[in-house]
Structure formats: structure tokens, C-alpha cells
């Protein structure tokens, strides 16, 4: 691979190992003397632990040790929360429950055996005597008097009570000419389902008293820091390695109980231990996403002008606070309620509620899909109410274009955008008038065809640390990068970002290659090993290129600056006359005076002829802390056809025009958008976590939870507009979550549009065949009743 440029669709350097089966994920790690761990988990959503009898299990073949929560209570500490809202209730979260279990899947004991089969067998033999307690799973009902209490520290199960707003909603709706629409919005609980489950290998070295933790995580450095904090281990004694990570989507963004337990057990036993999460275990033990119950209102004028939005929300937190749980339904939700619109009045109230369910935290988009769903669904609902086209209503209310920051209703500053141009491009690609004509014909023929739009904006590039800290963040959210030029001119880059499929190795090598003029094969990208590089933050929130890429750029810039001084010194010129282009230093106007980057690297380490006072070497580390978030946006258009007789929804067309700022590798960005769209479509059409009232997860396997398969999707048609971000020198915004944020509302708006002439105005996700079929029957019944009443008006009055 030669030198590349910014913006080129370079094939991924990760792929050769992954297409040949040579990728090394956690489960592929084998260490000498490694024992295997199986967790004993509660089958009840809420119960007191009366007794744990491990006798039978201890006598099972291959069993090495068994530990209960009570055994390890002192060493394990409590799992942390990294985002503190005012008056947040923080009940203790023991990695192994020792008094009370609070959700199905709460771990109570751990069995260590020679083989995984033996560990699983023995875990079955651990007898736990539970006193079953009443459970609550619905966030709204959990706040009512008399509901079962999940934690005594949180009366009415309220973990936080948070509001944000601007303007005066109550004043707006006093005007009798203002039209207000209102709907119950349920953003159903989702299960992330990365195809690789979680897994941990913990390797404690009793000689050096060092712990190495291999874990499938998005945040190795934070895991290292948090593990040290909760267990009281000196941080320098902990090394965390995130090897190949098989997908994450937010679900591997925390310090998990199993990481702490495996580390402590390895230390207790003085040997390595491995735990690989079974899929059935992942369904209950890995965080879930979404799960909002709310009432949303939108107010506006007959001419289409939107005056405001209001939402009262119950956000399910699950049984304990996961690391970022308080952030997701608060700021990452509330701050997005203005969308790309003027939206002068916003009123948002959120209860974060404890329930006897698996903890809920970030899932791809994390708060922003939920908010965008409210805004975009209610906008269409409002447009239907006033009898206007949803495109016209969007256009009427859209923010004007801006290149360098526009402060919106809630006080945040969108970085740059031309929202109307973006929408126009999508509409042109789609040919909106032609579709409406086709829809009219289809309806005459009795077919149900609908179109739905979503014009979204989101917060990416987390985060300006001081701003985040003022909102409750417990850690800095900058990113780091070290660029080490070797004496031969080859390059190693260590980035604090930590990929789970995003292609960082390709992207960072491409970025470095394009800036240094060094061929990609001469650049090694390291990540995900806390002993290989300086502290970093990790990969989440579409932050990697906007913050991590910007950090690499910063280090490369320092490298070039130092190399330029060295080159100038050797070529007996002044640095201001030395140019650097295509990997070569030249003295202006003197054609024969050039040095390659590699020659300068050699000179930097040879140190025979350096400028006076200059340190040898060519090795720079940077920490980039952005001044603002980035704000990607876009317009997505979905078309569905619905089978009248079965209610089955077919997604038949999908057009996406996104603006993620400058694009480093279009192939990778397109791929991420495709995947994001599929996850959003999954929420709209197939996926839902379903609990019984007593807290049993009915959708607890891939047989019961409808993961989208290849045959439900059309070929997505995608394009871009490019509005560079002024927040970082690369002009990038981030693209990891855009598709997911946009797709659910676009598809649901299409479903409602297909049924709108029958009188259907709203439906909660997912639009399964049954739900759609019932909506059609109900609408037809309503129409029949109305016709009957019209034929015989007297009878109705009697």
C-alpha cells in the first residue's frame, strides 16, 4: 500500500487476519494453567438470599473453587457510576450479590473448574435458597406508591428527577389557536447483541503481583482505572488488554461485575481464569438499551410553525446504575429535543427509575435515538393534524445554515450545518413528488404504501472535558495519541481509542500516512493495551475520529515541526524556508536540497548533527480535548409497503444523506452507516426485550429476540453532504451512530404514513405484523362505525 490521502476508500488493514480466522478475540486466548469460570445467577427478579449450599458443586469433577458474594464481599467493592446528576441515588452495586438479588441474572456465586463444561455443570449444582420478593419491571408503575422497592435508598424507585427546558410551554398552549398533539411514546427496551459476547481472561502474576485483564471492552484504560479504584489495587499493577473486540454498540462501555470478579478470583487462586459469556447469559447480564415510557406533546400553528415540544418521561435504569446510565436519558436525550428546528419552547422532565431488570445504559446512539424519535414522530403527528406535508413542516421550521456555531434553544452550540441543503439532496435522490403520485395510485388499488422522513441531528465527539464535567462527568473525555517514529523512519502510533469493528487501524494509518507521506505498510497502529501507551478514553459516542483522530493529527503535527527543524539544520537552511510535502523536506528555491522523512528520522536518532539544545528522537504524545461536541446531521427517507391481510411491513426503499463533516475513509463511513441503519430498522420493525410482570425475560435468546436478518433489508441508497466541523482541525464529526438515530423514526413515520388514510396516527415500536394488523382492523372498525353513524344519525343519539 502506498502513501494514501485523506478521503480515499482504502481497504482495511485489519481484514487479512479476520477473513482467514486469525483474529484473536478473548475466547481465543489460552494461557498455561488457565481455569474456567461459570457464574451462578439469580433466576428471580427480586429475592433475598437465605442460604447458599455449595457442597454438591464443590464435589463435582474438576471443580477448583467456589466463591459466593459473601466470601468476596470485602475484596470486590462496589461497581462505579461515572456520571453524577444532582441528587442522584447511588445504591451500592456489589459485583456478586450477597444479601439481595435485584434482577434475573444478578450473579450470586462463581464456580472455578478445570474446563468450561465442568464449571457450567457445577454451577448447576450450587443450591441457593431464595426468599422471593415482589418485583417491578415497568418504570412508570415503579414510581407509584405501593410499588415494590428495588433499593431502600431510592424512595418510589426514583434514581433521579431531572429537568431541562427553555421558553414557556404553558404559556404557548394557552393560545386557543395553537394546535397541540399528544401521544404516549414508548421507546422499547433493546438488547445490543454484539455477535461476540463479553469475555474476560484474568491473569494474576503472584511473583510481580501484577494483574493482566484481557477483556472485550470499548474502554481498556477506564477499566484499568476503575478496577484499581474499586478493588483498591495500585493502578500501576493493573494492565488491561482489549484484544480483537467482536462488536460492542455501547454494551462494552463499563466496568462490569465479571471483570472485577475474574481479577479477584485469579489473584485468590494465583492462576489465570477465563470467563466467556454464553449468549443466554448475555441477554440478562449485559446492559440493555432504551426503555422509555413517556407522554410527548408538540404545539404549533395551523401554518406549520412549530412552537414547542414537551415530554414527561420515565426512563428505566434497571436494577443498578450502570457506569453511564444517568447520562443517557438526561443530557444525551434532553439536549436533542430541539432537533434541527428552531423549536423555541422545550420542556423535558425525566424520572430515572430503578426496576427489577437488567441495568440499562448506552446502546448505539444512546439517548439521541430516543430524543430524535420523539421529535420526528411528533413532527409527523403534528403535520398530520394540521393536514400538511411533513416535508413542508420540516422545511418551515429548519434552522438556517451556519458554518461556525449556532447556539440553539437549550444553549448548546451546533458546530456547523446546512440542514435544508442536506434535506433537499435526499429528496432529490428519492424523488419525493414521484413517490407521492405512486402512493396515490397504490391507494386506489388498495395497496398500503408509505414514506417516512427523519431529519436528525446528534451529539458526537465526546467531549470537551470541562463542559462534560460541569454536566456531571466523573472523568475527562479527551483522547490521546503517541506517534513514535523509529530510526528507520517506520512509525508506530498508539491511540487511546479502542475499536470494536470500526476500522481504527486502517483509519489511523491512513491519517498518519496522508500527513507524514509514509506508506501505510510502514505504519503500525497499536491500541487497547494500557501498558503499550499512555492513558486514553476509548471508543464510544462517535468520538474516535473527532477526538482520537484529532489527537493523532496533533502528534503528527509536532513530529513534522521537529523534523523540519532538524532537516533545516542539516540542509543548512532556516526552518521557515523548509517545506514538507509527500514525505520529503525541501529548501524553497533550491531544488537539489531535499531530505526524505526517513533520512530525517535517522538523523534524529543518530544525533550526530542536531540543532544545539535539541533532544534526540522523534516521538510525540498529545492529548486532545475538544472545545465543543460535534453535531452530525442528515436526512433519511424510508418507504414501506404493508400487507393488508397480515400486517407485515416490508421496507422496500431506504435513502440516506448524512453530513458527518469531512470523511477520512468513505468506504468505512458508508459501512458504519449501513450497520447503524440496520440497527435502527431493527428497533422499528423487529426487536423488543419483553419481560413478564415478575421480571422474567421472555425474549432471552436469539430464538425469541428478533435480530434483523439480511432478507428484511433493501439496498440502502446513501450519499453525503459535507459541512466541515470547526471543532477540530480535521473537520470531522463522527459517523458511528447516525444511521441508528435516523432509521427508527424514518421507518415508523413510513408505517404510519402507509396507514394514515385509514385514520391511524401513531403506533409504538416495533411495528410487528400483529400490531400493524390490529391497527388496520381497529381503523377499519372505526371507519365502519362512522359510516353507520352517518347513515343513521338518529340512532346514534338515542
Amino acid at each position: 500500500m502506498p502513501v494514501t490521502t485523506f478521503g480515499e476508500s482504502v481497504r482495511r488493514t485489519e481484514d487479512p487476519r479476520l477473513i482467514t480466522g486469525r483474529g484473536k478475540y478473548v475466547d481465543d486466548i489460552r494461557l498455561a494453567g488457565m481455569a474456567h469460570i461459570s457464574f451462578v445467577r439469580s433466576p428471580y427478579a427480586h429475592a433475598n438470599i437465605k442460604n447458599i449450599d455449595t457442597t454438591a458443586a464443590a464435589n463435582a469433577p474438576g471443580v477448583i473453587a467456589i466463591f459466593t458474594g459473601a466470601d468476596l464481599q470485602e475484596q470486590l467493592g462496589g461497581l462505579p457510576v461515572a456520571w453524577l446528576l444532582p441528587d442522584l441515588k447511588q445504591p451500592k452495586h456489589p459485583p456478586l450479590a450477597f444479601e439481595t438479588v435485584r434482577y434475573v441474572g444478578d450473579a450470586v456465586a462463581v464456580v472455578v473448574a478445570d474446563t468450561p463444561y465442568q464449571a457450567t455443570d457445577a454451577a448447576e449444582l450450587v443450591e441457593v435458597d431464595y426468599e422471593v420478593l415482589p418485583a417491578i419491571v415497568n418504570a412508570e408503575r415503579a414510581t407509584k406508591d405501593g410499588a415494590p422497592e428495588v433499593h431502600p435508598e431510592a424512595p418510589n424507585n426514583i434514581g433521579f428527577d431531572w429537568s431541562i427546558g427553555a421558553g414557556d410551554w404553558d404559556e404557548v398552549i394557552k393560545d386557543p389557536d395553537v394546535i397541540v398533539v399528544k401521544e404516549e411514546i414508548i421507546n422499547q427496551r433493546l438488547i445490543p447483541n454484539s455477535i461476540e459476547t463479553r469475555g474476560v481472561v484474568a491473569d494474576f502474576d503472584p511473583g510481580r503481583e501484577n494483574l493482566t485483564l484481557y477483556t472485550s471492552t470499548q474502554i481498556p484504560h477506564l477499566v484499568k482505572m476503575l478496577y484499581a479504584m474499586v478493588t483498591g489495587t495500585p493502578e500501576q499493577k493493573v494492565r488491561v488488554i482489549a484484544p480483537e473486540v467482536g462488536g460492542a454498540f455501547g454494551s462494552k462501555l463499563y466496568l462490569y461485575a465479571e471483570e472485577v470478579v475474574c481479577g479477584i478470583v485469579s489473584k485468590q487462586l494465583g492462576r489465570p481464569v477465563k470467563w466467556i459469556e454464553a449468549r443466554s447469559e448475555a441477554y440478562i447480564a449485559t446492559t440493555h438499551g432504551r426503555d422509555h415510557i413517556g407522554v410527548a406533546e408538540m404545539a404549533g400553528k395551523k401554518n406549520g410553525e412549530i412552537l414547542g415540544i414537551k415530554i414527561d418521561l420515565y426512563a428505566n435504569l434497571g436494577a443498578y446504575l450502570s457506569l453511564f446510565a444517568p447520562l443517557i436519558p438526561s443530557y444525551f436525550f434532553g439536549l436533542m429535543l430541539g432537533g434541527v428546528y428552531k423549536m423555541p419552547n422545550i420542556s423535558c422532565h425525566v424520572y430515572g427509575v430503578f426496576t427489577n431488570t437488567t441495568p440499562v445504559d448506552a446502546y448505539r446512539g444512546a439517548g439521541r435515538p430516543e430524543a430524535t424519535y420523539v421529535v420526528e414522530r411528533m413532527l409527523d403527528r403534528f403535520a398530520a393534524e394540521i393536514g400538511r406535508d411533513p416535508v413542508a413542516v420540516r422545511r418551515k421550521n429548519m434552522l438556517a445554515s451556519h458554518k461556525n456555531g449556532r447556539t440553539v434553544t437549550l444553549g448548546v452550540t451546533y458546530d456547523s450545518g446546512d440542514y435544508k441543503a442536506n434535506l433537499n439532496k435526499a429528496l432529490e435522490m428519492f424523488d419525493y413528488p414521484a413517490f407521492r403520485a405512486e402512493q396515490r395510485t397504490a391507494r386506489r388499488e388498495g395497496k398500503l404504501l408509505g414514506v417516512g422522513l427523519c431529519t436528525y441531528i446528534e451529539i458526537s465527539g465526546a467531549a470537551p472535558s470541562a463542559v462534560a464535567s460541569s454536566l456531571g462527568a466523573g472523568a475527562g473525555l479527551w483522547e490521546s495519541a503517541a506517534v513514535r517514529v523509529h530510526p528507520t523512519g517506520k512509525v508506530t502510533v498508539y491511540s487511546g481509542t479502542s475499536p470494536s469493528g470500526q476500522g481504527h487501524e486502517t483509519a489511523w494509518a491512513q491519517l498518519t500516512s496522508s500527513e507524514l507521506g509514509v506508506p501505510m505498510e510502514d505504519i503500525e497502529i497499536l491500541h487497547g493495551d494500557t501498558d503499550q501507551g499512555q492513558f486514553g478514553t476509548g471508543t464510544f459516542g462517535s468520538r474516535s475520529v473527532a477526538v482520537g483522530g484529532a489527537a493523532i493529527h496533533k502528534s503528527v503535527t509536532k513530529i513534522i515541526a521537529k523534523a523540519t527543524i532538524i532537516a533545516a539544520h542539516i540542509m543548512e537552511s532556516d526552518p521557515k524556508f523548509v517545506t514538507f510535502e509527500g514525505g520529503s523536506f525541501a529548501v524553497e528555491d533550491i531544488p537539489d536540497k531535499t531530505m526524505t522523512f526517513q533520512e530525517v528520522a535517522g538523523a534524529a536518532y543518530g544525533a550526530a548533527n542536531l540543532p544545539p539544545g535539541m533532544e534526540p528522537g522523534l516521538d510525540e504524545t498529545s492529548f486532545f480535548d475538544p472545545t465543543n461536541f460535534t453535531w452530525p446531521y442528515g436526512a433519511h427517507i424510508a418507504v414501506v409497503e404493508i400487507d393488508q391481510d397480515t400486517g407485515k411491513v416490508d421496507l422496500i426503499r431506504y435513502v440516506a444523506v448524512d453530513d458527518v463533516g469531512n470523511v477520512l475513509n468513505p468506504m468505512i463511513v458508508d459501512g458504519m452507516l449501513h450497520g447503524g441503519i440496520a440497527q435502527g430498522v431493527g428497533q422499528a420493525l423487529t426487536e423488543a426485550a419483553v419481560y413478564t410482570d415478575d421480571g422474567q425475560l421472555l425474549s432471552g435468546s436469539m430464538m425469541d429476540y428478533a435480530m434483523p436478518t439480511a432478507d428484511i433489508f433493501p439496498k440502502f441508497e446513501s450519499d453525503r453532504t459535507v459541512t466541515p466541523s470547526p471543532v477540530n482541525e480535521l473537520g470531522v464529526k463522527g459517523a458511528g451512530e447516525a444511521g441508528t438515530i435516523a432509521a427508527s423514526p424514518a421507518v415508523m413515520n413510513a408505517v404510519i404514513d402507509a396507514l394514515s388514510h385509514l385514520g391511524v396516527r401513531h403506533m409504538n415500536m416495533p411495528a410487528t405484523s400483529e400490531k400493524v394488523w390490529r391497527a388496520i382492523q381497529d381503523a377499519k372498525e372505526t371507519q365502519r362505525a362512522a359510516r353507520a353513524a352517518a347513515r343513521n344519525p338518529r340512532k346514534q343519539g338515542s
Binding site: R12, D28, E196, A678, M707, A710, F713
Partner: protein
């Protein structure tokens, strides 16, 4: 209780003593150390563990190792000819048909079998053909593209 089995994997014969309940997937990974075959679920849904058993694609989590006794198994490690990738592997790389790579071995094994059965599939046939394999990263779009490209290259 153990049973001795002999299985030819990627052309090499292996004899081992295994528990009757040992899954083929675990035999490949844990006994033969062929970790390219991945396990993504416990209900035979995800397809990450797909291998070829006597030339047919099977989910190796749904086959006991003892059932493979006397059989020929091909895994992802046996797909390339030395350092030369198969058309399918090459197309997955060229078309960006993978992201995290965890579903990829199973997806490639399914595709190899699909194209053997149907060397000239339509897009619908491709989508239906891989509906037994989950991918959470790609939205399947570039996988479908890759399979189309591989089919073309094979003609």
C-alpha cells in the same frame, strides 16, 4: 466417558478422545486450537460457527464432535490456498464485507457453500441464503455486495 474419533480437518487427520456431548465447535476450537470458528450463541441462530461437514455448511454448535467421526471438515483456516484467498475471502476484503470480523468466518463458510449450490444468485437469493447468519455491524449491505462480486469472479 470418552469416545475416540477421527476427523479430517482442512485435509489433516486428527484422532482424539472426546466426551460424547462435546460440540464440534468446541472440538475445533479447544481440542484442535482452530479458533477461527467462532461461537456467537447457544441456540443455533447466529451462524458464526458455520463450517463445512463433508462439503455441506453446518452450524458446528449443533453437531456433536462424535457425529463428525470419519468425516471431512473444512473451517475458515482451510479456505485460502496458502496465502491466496478464495474469491469469497477476496471479495469480503475488497467490498468491505466485515467490520468487527466476529461473524465473518461463519459468513464466509456459508457463502462458500451457497455459491457452490448456486453460482449465480440473485440479490434476493443471496439475502435469503445468508439469513441464517447474523451480522450486527454491516447491515449486511456490503456482505451482499461481496457475495455478488465473488459469484462474478467465480464464473
Amino acid at each position: 466417558m470418552s469416545t475416540e474419533i477421527t476427523v479430517t480437518v482442512n485435509g489433516t487427520e486428527h484422532t482424539a478422545s472426546v466426551e460424547p456431548r462435546l460440540l464440534l465447535a468446541h472440538f475445533l476450537r479447544d481440542v484442535l486450537d482452530l479458533t477461527g470458528t467462532h461461537i456467537g450463541c447457544d441456540t443455533s441462530q447466529c451462524g458464526a460457527c458455520t463450517v463445512h461437514l463433508n462439503g455441506e455448511a453446518v452450524k458446528s454448535c449443533t453437531v456433536f464432535a462424535v457425529q463428525a467421526n470419519g468425516s471431512e471438515v473444512k473451517t475458515i483456516e482451510g479456505v485460502a490456498d496458502g496465502e491466496t484467498y478464495s474469491n469469497v475471502q477476496q471479495a469480503f476484503w475488497d467490498e468491505h464485507g466485515l467490520q468487527c470480523g466476529f461473524c465473518t468466518p461463519g459468513m464466509i463458510m456459508t457463502t462458500e457453500a451457497l455459491l457452490k449450490q448456486n453460482p449465480n444468485p440473485t440479490e434476493d437469493e443471496i439475502r435469503t441464503g445468508i439469513a441464517g447468519n447474523f451480522c450486527r455491524c454491516t447491515g449486511y449491505q456490503n456482505i451482499v455486495n461481496a457475495i455478488g462480486v465473488a459469484a462474478k469472479a467465480g464464473r
